[in-house]
Symmetry: C2
Subunit: 472 residues, 2 copies
Amino acid sequence: MNATSFAAQPAAPLSAAIIADLQAAVGAANLITDPAECWTYGGDNSRLHALPQAVVFATNTEQIAALVKTCRRHRLPLIARGRGTGTTGAVVPDQGGVILSLERMNQILEVDAANRLLVAQPGATNQEIQQAAAAAGFFWPPDPTSNAYCSLGGNLAYNSAGPRAVKYGTPRENTLGLTAVTGTGEIMRTGVYTTKGVVGLDLTRLLIGSEGLLGIITEAVLKLTPLPPAKRLLAAVYEDVSSAAEAVSAIMAQPVVPCALEFIDAQCIEMIRDYAQADLPRHAGAMLMIEVDGEAEQLTQAADRVAEAARVAGCMDIRIAQTEAETADLWAMRKALSPALRQVAPKKINEDVAVPVSHLPKLIQGLEALSQTHGIRIVSFGHAGNGNIHVNLLLDPEDAQQMQAAEPCLAAVFALVMQLRGTLSGEHGVGLAKRDYVHLELSPESLRLMHDIKRCFDPDNILNPGKALPPI
Amino acid sequence: MNATSFAAQPAAPLSAAIIADLQAAVGAANLITDPAECWTYGGDNSRLHALPQAVVFATNTEQIAALVKTCRRHRLPLIARGRGTGTTGAVVPDQGGVILSLERMNQILEVDAANRLLVAQPGATNQEIQQAAAAAGFFWPPDPTSNAYCSLGGNLAYNSAGPRAVKYGTPRENTLGLTAVTGTGEIMRTGVYTTKGVVGLDLTRLLIGSEGLLGIITEAVLKLTPLPPAKRLLAAVYEDVSSAAEAVSAIMAQPVVPCALEFIDAQCIEMIRDYAQADLPRHAGAMLMIEVDGEAEQLTQAADRVAEAARVAGCMDIRIAQTEAETADLWAMRKALSPALRQVAPKKINEDVAVPVSHLPKLIQGLEALSQTHGIRIVSFGHAGNGNIHVNLLLDPEDAQQMQAAEPCLAAVFALVMQLRGTLSGEHGVGLAKRDYVHLELSPESLRLMHDIKRCFDPDNILNPGKALPPI
C-alpha cells in the first residue's frame, strides 16, 4: 500500500457519551476532538493520512490504563503516537479511532551511571536521551537519522536502529525492561534492571518492534554504553557499486567492527553534490563512510585495519576526514540524503530491506536490472554493515506508465531480497505500507501465532488494529 | 522445590499402542522404553530425577514434528533435552512422558564467515560450536562453565550466558533466527539471516529462554563475533567482599568493558586453595578476575584503565597474569569452583541471582547477615560484571535443623534480591527449582500473559508441562 492507493474510511464524529467517557479517563484538558486540530495527528512521514476521531495527551501510565479501558468498552481503535517520523503509516488511524499522543510524557526519570541504565518516558526524543546519557559519559546506541525529532516510544515500537547498530545493536539489544499497558488496560512491567535475566518469557523483546499491537509502552529502562573517547571517519570511493559492496563484505569479515558503515550510490552522490559542504568525488560509482571508535591512541591502527579491508579491486580512493568540520560535513551530507530525495522526486517509495552482507553485490546488481526493466529510477544508500539498504524508487506521479510500474517493481525488489535470504525491513517496520508483502517473509504458521499472541495482549483488537500483520 | 522435597509421580509403562505410534513417528531404532536404559535421561545437574516413560532420539526436524503430533494425540508430556547440565530440573519428567534427546542432532550445518553466522543443530556442544567458529576466526559469545559438555539447545532454552556476557551479551543478543517445532507439530522459522530485521513479532527471543515450553528448537542461526587477537587477565585481591563489590561498580562505570569480570569470595578461595595450581592469596576477603581483550598493542592501556578503576579502598593487590599458563590456571580454578563446592558440601542449593552492579555490596552484606541468622554457610562467586552472583547454600543433609532452615533462608535471599531491583535468575532459569518463587518477580498479569502465550504455541500443554511458570 502507498499514498497513491490509500483511501481511509472517513471517520464519523464520536458520540457525546464516548467523548464524556474519554474526558473522564484522561481529563478534558487532555482531549481534542475538533477535526482541524486533530488533523495534524493523522499522518506520519509516509504521507499516508487519516483523520483521527479524537486525540488524547496522556501524562502518566494510570491515565493510559484508564484510556485503554474506555476505548475497549467502546471498541474504539487506539493508536499511540510519538512524533510521526515513521515511514510506514503505522500510526495512521485508517480505521478511525483515538490517537494517543505521548508528547507530554517526555521525562527522563533516571540516569544511573553506576548501573549503566537510563529510565525514560516514551515521549522523550532520542536526542534528549542521548544528551542526558552523554552528561554521564554514556550513549544509547539506537540513532535513527531523525534522532533530533523522533521519540523513544517510536524507536521501541519499530525497533529503529541507525548507523551505529552495526557495532552496538538495535533497541532489542539495548533495552532492559519496560512498563506497558496492554489492550485490557492492565499495567505490566517486563524485564529487569540488570543485563541478564531469565525468569519467565521475554516480553520485553516481544513488545519492542511490535508497532503498538500488543501494548502501549509508558516507560523504558534503557541499557547505556560508555561513550567512546574518540572516533575517526573514512570516506572510500569506488568505481562501481559492486566493488563497494565487496568492500563492505571484506570489512565485516575482519575483527575491527566499525561503529558505522554507510553505503551511498552514485546517484545519491550526484544528487546531493550541490547541497553538500563536503568535497564529493566525481565519476564515482559508490562511496562508503566508515567510522571507527575507541581510545584515541588506537584509532590509527583501527582505521588502518578497516582501510586495508576496504581497499578491494575497484577502490579509487580512501581518505580520512582530517578535521572535525570535515567529519561533520560528511555526516550532514549522509543525513541530508533522505530529505534531499524528497526534493528531487515528487514521489518516492522508500524501502529498507536487509540482506546478508555478502549478498550486497547481488542485491545492488539486481536493483540496477529492475530499474532498467521497470523504467523506474532507483537510488540506494544505507547501513551497509548490517546489509540494510534504503532502496528508493523515485516516481513522477504525472507519469501514468511509471506509476503503474511501481507496484510490480516493488514486488520484484522484495522477491529479490527474499531470494538473497534477506528481510523486507531492517528498521522501518511494516505498518500499512509493507503489510501486503509480509507473507513473502513469514509463513502462515508464524502469522497465525503472531495473531494469537496479539489476541493474548489485546483480545478486542483495539490497539493499532490492522497494522504490521496481514490478516490470515 | 529442591531435591529434598521432590517426589515425582511414578510413571506407568506406556501402552503397546502408544509405543507403536512413537515408533511410527521416529523409527524403532530411535526409541527406548526399558526403564533401566531410560533412567539416565531422567535427571539433570540439579539432582532432581524422575523416570521417563520413553526416550526418543530424533535425527531431523520432520521426525520431531511427527513425534510432537503423536504425543499431542496421546496427551503425553514431551521434554526436549540436551546434555542435562542444567541446574533447575527443567528437563526432569516429573509428570512422566517422553524425553526427546537431541544428542544425535549435533551437526554444524554452515559456517558463513562473510556474514558472521553459523547454523547448527541443537545437539552440538557449545565447545564444538566454538571450535567451528574459531576455525573461521570467530566465536559465539555464550560460554557457560559447562561449555565442554552443554549443548546449544540447552544454551538457547535457558538463555545461558557465562563470563563473556558482560561484554558480548547472552544468546538473546547473539542469535539471528531459529527453526522450531511448536506444540501442534508445526515447523516454523523465526528471525532472519541479517543483524537487523523487524517484520512481525520477535518470536526468536520469545523462544530463547522459554525452557522448552513453547517449541523445540531444531536449528539455530547464530551471530558470530570476531575473535579478539589477544587477552589479558588481572587478578585483584580485596580485604573484604564489600570493597571488591565497590571495585566491580567502579570498573563498570568507566569506558573499557572487560570481557570477563568474575567475583570470588574468601570462602571459595580457601576452599579451592589446595586444589588450585594458581597462587591464591591468604587472608583475602575476595578476589576479582578481570579480563580485557582486543588488539595486543592496546591491552596494556586497557588493563591500566580497569586496574585504575579496580584500585578502590580495600584493594590489597592487583597483578597481571604474566604467562599463558598462569592465565589458564586462574581460569581452571574459576571453573573448578562449582564442582569443588559439590565435594565440600554433601548438599548445596545453587542460585544465580542478579542485581544492578552498584547494589552488589548490599547483596553481599545481606547474604552474610542471612548466613548468620539462619546458621547456613553461604559462599558466593560469579559474573560480577552483570551483577550475576552464584549464591551457594552449603548444607549437611544429616543436620535436621540446618535442612529446615534452608527454605526460609532461600526465601530471604530472594526477598533481598527483589529489594535490590534484582532478578531470581541471571542465567540458570527457573525449571522446577525456582518455580515457586517466580511470583516474587512477575506480576499476576505478566504470568497470565505468559500462560496465554504458552497456550498459543502449545494448546494441549504437552511441551515440558509445569516448568518455569507457576500455575495461576
